[in-house]
Amino acid sequence: MSVIQDAFIWLNDPLNWTLPDGIIARTREHLWITLLAVALACAVGWPIGVLLGHYGRGGAALVTLANVSRAVPTVALLTIFPLTAIGFGERAIVLALAVFAVPPLLANAYLGIREVDPQVKEAALGMGLSGRQLLTRVELPLAVPYLASGFRTAAVQVIATATLAAFVNGGGLGMIISRGFGLGLASGGGQVLAGGLIVAVLCLIAEGLLALGERAVTPRHLRAPGRMSEGRASMTM
């Protein structure tokens, strides 16, 4: 029981919220790292996925990429990248997190374009649309639900794995947990628990908001009510 009390006492201390390494500053760091990593991953994953889907190439390579990326531990890239030419700091962490966000974005973009009804495409070409017009006016709009689904999967994954930046002293909310462990469970247990709670709440809120966003951009007749909530491509983590 006393650990739970310690956690509440820790959360109740205003200084733990407002200090330069308090909850508010750590949350801001966490969200900033997440934003950069997701933006970078979108900038890489979406164009490649859309083009591969448009030309119908590389499906097998995408499955391999998804499988191999699953086997690479996040902490490995987080520790390796700072020791390369990338250097220490935010850039290495953002890059490491972005690497793991690319496969779901890529896979869903590819799948979204591939899943467009061939008859619709034929009709569009028959109406005189060029290849580029087919992509921008037919395939991309129809792929939006898939893009949104991939975005949600990738963003939730990055906001969760950004916690691991704490292993390399890289900031974010994971720092609260790792500092707590550093104090030892006897005196830091409350902080560990409180940190875990904050991270979990942040991730659940992000997941909820992104699910709403995904719903909002998915046309009503494409919503599958009983669909399992884990991305449209089954290659996600």
Binding site: V3, N67, V68, R70, A71, V72, P73, T74, V75, A76, T79, I80, P82, L83, V156, A160, T161, T163, L164, A166, F167, V168, G174, I177, S178, G180, F181, L185, G189, G190, V192, L193, G195, G196, L197, V199, A200, C203, L204, E207, G226, M228, S229, E230, M237
Partner: protein, 222 residues
């Protein structure tokens, strides 16, 4: 210390001098992975049968598992460690919870895609509920169950590294330990490669097991 020459990414000397440490990490990694996936499968497969039979349970079971999956591994260990302590059990519980959802989803997808006509034919031939499950539904769901098991295994191998936070992360101990110990590149790289190789080897073993269990899928692909 940071110069490329004094701190290479790969060194046979490191492997030769630390063989015992590497083997101990390998042992810990394999034991925890196999135990986690096995326990998760023992819980998830019966649970998926239950969800398949009782339709109203599907939503709540998947929602609970999905919520758990959203919580980051480090946070989950943070929830557990103050109560369960700094021991392998903490890592085990956390990994079982993650593997559970993956196996559950695979198994449930497999069961749900058994065609209704096949079930009708089976019950017309006099199969009871249990015989139908054992001889018709589970074998037909097996490819999907195996896919779930493979994904769960590969993810567990990678995720286990986070167990370093409670002192039981297998190769993760060496990866993060190497970073803290003056950015020891050879140790970080060797442990990373070993970790990825272990995931791929276990995946291949499961794929071979699947082929042996499901000769019909082999025939079809020829």
């Amino acid at each position: 210390m940071s110069s490329q020459a004094g701190n290479p990414w790969f060194s046979w000397d490191y492997i030769r001098e630390n063989t015992d440490t590497l083997l101990a990490a390998l042992r810990e990694h394999i034991l925890l992975t196999v135990a986690s996936v096995a326990i998760a499968a023992l819980i998830a497969i019966p649970l998926s049968i239950l969800a398949y039979r009782k339709n109203w349970l599907t939503g709540p079971i998947l929602a609970t598992a999905g919520t758990l999956y959203t919580i980051p591994s480090l946070a989950l260990f943070a929830f557990l460690a103050p109560f369960t302590g700094l021991n392998p059990g903490t890592v085990l519980i956390g990994l079982v919870l993650y593997a559970l959802l993956v196996i559950l989803r695979g198994s449930l997808t497999g069961l749900r895609t058994v065609p209704a006509e096949i079930r009708e034919v089976a019950s017309g031939m006099g199969y009871g509920k249990l015989a139908m499950l054992w001889r018709v539904e589970l074998p037909l769901a097996l490819p999907s169950i195996m896919t779930g098991l493979r994904i769960a295994t590969v993810s567990t191998v990678a995720l286990l590294t986070v167990g370093e936070i409670v002192g039981f992360g297998g190769f993760g101990n060496l990866i993060i330990g190497g970073f803290r110990n003056n950015f020891y590149r050879a140790q970080i790289m060797t442990a990373t490669l070993a970790c990825v190789a272990l995931a791929l080897v276990l995946d291949a073993l499961l794929a071979l097991t699947g082929r042996a269990l499901m000769p019909w899928t082999r025939r079809r692909s020829q």
